[in-house]
Amino acid sequence: MLVSKLKEAIICLKNLRVTLPYPFQPAPPAEGFRGRLELDISKCIGCGACLNACPPRLIRMTDQDSRRTIEFALGRCTYCARCAEVCPEKAIRMTKEFELSTEDKRDLNITAELLMAKCGQCRTAYTTQRIVDRLMNQVAKEIGVEAAAQDWMKLCPACRKVHEAQNIGEARI
């Protein structure tokens, strides 16, 4: 009995206080920690890959008046970093920030707006300008500058279909 109590006392005396002086001194997380996500709007092309990967479905994308709005409701974030993993442009990054308590969860939201490209024929906004630019660059680089300069490259998928059908029709005649 006494031996046990002595052993317990020794364990306590040997370790004394182990509590860290946090928050008076910072307690940085380990390397590779996934904290609050950060969106680099200069890189985002508005493709929506993050939207499909997000398990709590907190990312919303809406198109209105030739603007694509991407909203992150980060109050629901589980910090899994799947969005950062699938982002083709590496626009999403997980910071080491973890002190995120707030009185209003909307403080955590991120909203980004991207300009949309208009179809050369029907004038509807069909995708973001950045996706079109990216595609043009790729076509010019991989196929040729002439291919990228074609008029139909600036058409929306629906108008492109019509254009293509007309082309085939003319070729038959």
Partner: protein, 263 residues
């Protein structure tokens, strides 16, 4: 309190390996997302070696502590027959001398290669369950060492592009509290349509009325604590009348009113 102190370095280790203390986010369909880096191996071994020593010190100190024995022995007894009848799982069953462990009975993942030992105690009281948990911690340390030694090289993920919709899957793992079962029905867009979890706390909580019998109210918190229940897994109740096939879901308020009523 000393147990919390010993545990903390493990949490730091988890954060370093997975990127978070608790919500690891490691598993995806097809594999795991992060590998254990070469420089992390010696660190893991160092941390678990340290906690092993500290844990043995604590076990050695409390083993003969008569104050603890008076408080925990013969309290919240769940006899082996009752444990079997109520289908309890995990340390709650093993503390009543029932030798079950899904890692041994139905080896999954790599458990067939590391041969876990089943730790049991015959008494069925709070002290027995405590001893089982302590013994299992040491056993887990041994398993971590063994797994690190045998860790093969190779890919972490198999590429899975489309998950076929409307298929069912069921899986079980031995969680710290016992066997946890997950059922999933796949839906469209690579997402689950229905997901049902039977957490070990659900089965273990059924044994609480038996454990409470003949004990004082002061014993209730430690008896409940000894099965380590997860209330967020079990705060709802659905009653099915087998004869009429009627289903009724009880709300939190209804359950509270029922528990306050004298039988």
């Amino acid at each position: 309190m000393q147990a919390w102190r010993i545990r903390e370095p493990v949490m730091w280790l988890c954060e370093e390996i997975t990127g978070n203390r608790k919500t690891y986010g490691m598993n995806l369909i097809g594999g795991v997302r992060r590998d254990i880096r070469a420089e992390q191996y010696p660190k893991i071994l160092e941390v678990i070696g340290k906690i092993e020593g500290q844990l043995k010190e604590v076990i050695d100190a409390i083993a003969g502590d008569t104050t603890l024995h008076l408080r925990l022995k013969n309290v919240g007894v769940l006899p082996p027959e009752a444990a079997r009848r109520l289908c309890v799982v995990g340390p709650t069953a093993r503390g009543s001398g029932v030798t079950i462990d899904s890692r041994v009975n139905h080896p999954y993942a790599a458990y067939a290669q590391v041969s876990p030992k089943v730790i049991t105690q015959p008494e069925g009281d709070v002290w027995a369950r405590t001893l089982v948990r302590l013994g299992e911690t040491l056993e887990s340390i041994r398993l971590v060492r063994q797994s690190l030694e045998q860790m093969p090289a190779g890919d972490l993920m198999a590429e899975v592009k489309e998950i076929p919709p409307w298929r069912e899957g069921i899986a079980y793992v031995e969680a710290p509290r016992g066997e946890s079962i997950h059922y999933v029905l796949t839906g469209t867009d690579n997402r689950p349509y229905r997901w049902r979890v039977r957490a070990p706390s659900y089965t273990n909580l059924q044994a609480v009325p038996t454990m409470f019998q003949g004990n004082s109210i002061a014993d209730a918190p430690i008896i409940l604590g000894s099965i380590d229940p997860c209330f967020s897994c079990t705060e709802r109740m659905e009653a099915v009348d087998v004869k009429t096939k009627k289903v009724r879901v009880y709300s939190q308020e209804e359950l509270r009113q029922m528990s306050r009523k004298r039988r």
